[in-house]
Symmetry: C2
Subunit: 199 residues, 2 copies
């Protein structure tokens, strides 16, 4: 009665669409993410998904929101409560790895202005930024948490995107990780780099 067999009412088409969308995204990139393809994969008629998603954007927003939640888990798994620059760097590496391992999903998450069509999506994003701010607040009590967390988010986000766009050396996971760590370290020890030796 749920999703197996051949009943006429699908059971949980909403979830099935989301799953199909994720699969299509990984297989064909965001270009392949069409409502019709999703319907095909879910085994329903081309317009059935409209019963659960107002339009294509709504589906995409749902996918993005799910991506945000997974990103949050992924970061927390890297380190539950980082306090030192090293630990923060580990979270940064996790962020970039997430982007590189699910490039199409990551792009979808940050593709459009996210005008608050989807409350679900807005909630998921603010959750991420709150999480980051909390880390910074805990790690650096004296600093302006708002400003500093924005800075580190931007740095990491930029690294992720530049890697994704092939603007940086993405030859191997280790190379990328070293790169990310170096950049985060630079954020907290930059003046040394300016006057000290190159290497």
């Amino acid at each position: 009665m749920s999703q197996a067999g051949g009943t006429y009412h699908h059971g949980d088409l909403r979830a099935a669409c989301l799953r199909a969308a994720r699969e299509l995204l990984e297989e064909d990139g965001s270009a392949g993410l069409s409502l019709r393809a999703v319907a095909r994969r879910a085994g329903v008629s081309p317009t059935a998904p409209y019963r659960h998603y107002a339009d294509r954007d709504a589906l995409v927003s749902a996918v993005a929101a799910q991506g945000y939640r997974e990103l949050a888990e992924h970061l927390a798994a890297a380190h539950p409560a980082p306090t030192t620059p090293d630990e923060l760097a580990a979270v940064a590496v996790a962020y970039v790895r997430f982007a590189l391992e699910r490039p199409a999903l990551f792009r979808v998450m940050f593709a459009e202005p996210c005008d608050p069509n989807s409350e679900e999506r807005v909630a998921a994003t603010t959750a991420i930024s709150e999480y980051l701010r909390g880390i910074v607040r805990g790690a650096f009590p004296g600093a302006d948490a708002e400003a500093l967390s924005t800075t580190v988010w931007a740095l990491v986000h930029g690294l992720a995107f530049l890697h994704l766009d092939g603007k940086l050396d993405t030859s191997g996971p280790d190379v990328v990780a070293d790169q990310v760590r170096a950049s985060v370290q630079a954020l907290f020890t930059a003046p040394a780099a300016l006057s000290g030796a190159g290497e």
Copy 2:
């Protein structure tokens, strides 16, 4: 004989397509950038652009390449050869402003992996990164220019994207500029922020 009047051979359809594409991009966003719409605006048949661009991606790549060149000019205009953190911050502000003033173009520039389909496009990107590396090398001779320029590029690029995605306060140009300056300053004075007073 060139582009006026009603001759049958357009004269310079290639350039006309590029111009039309730019206009459509600013008016309707990247979704409105279709080859057919470009052809319509240029006053030719729907398939005429195929004589000058292999497919839609080729046109988009051409638009992106033009965007890179304009970005380079825009940065150079902000400061020809920055050497101090303040001057570098001015260039950073210019970068983010460029993104916010031409959001659709900026997104197109960094939307896809840019697999070297378009030699023109690759050249334009490497020009930007070389330019940046040059600045860093000149401003901070002791540092590892490669790593530091990557870091600052990522920081600024991330700020641009987060602003573009509405993840940060974009209420006014001044607010944004202050934000960018603060982040760049943080890159070179971060340890102070850690131990010093919040404000």
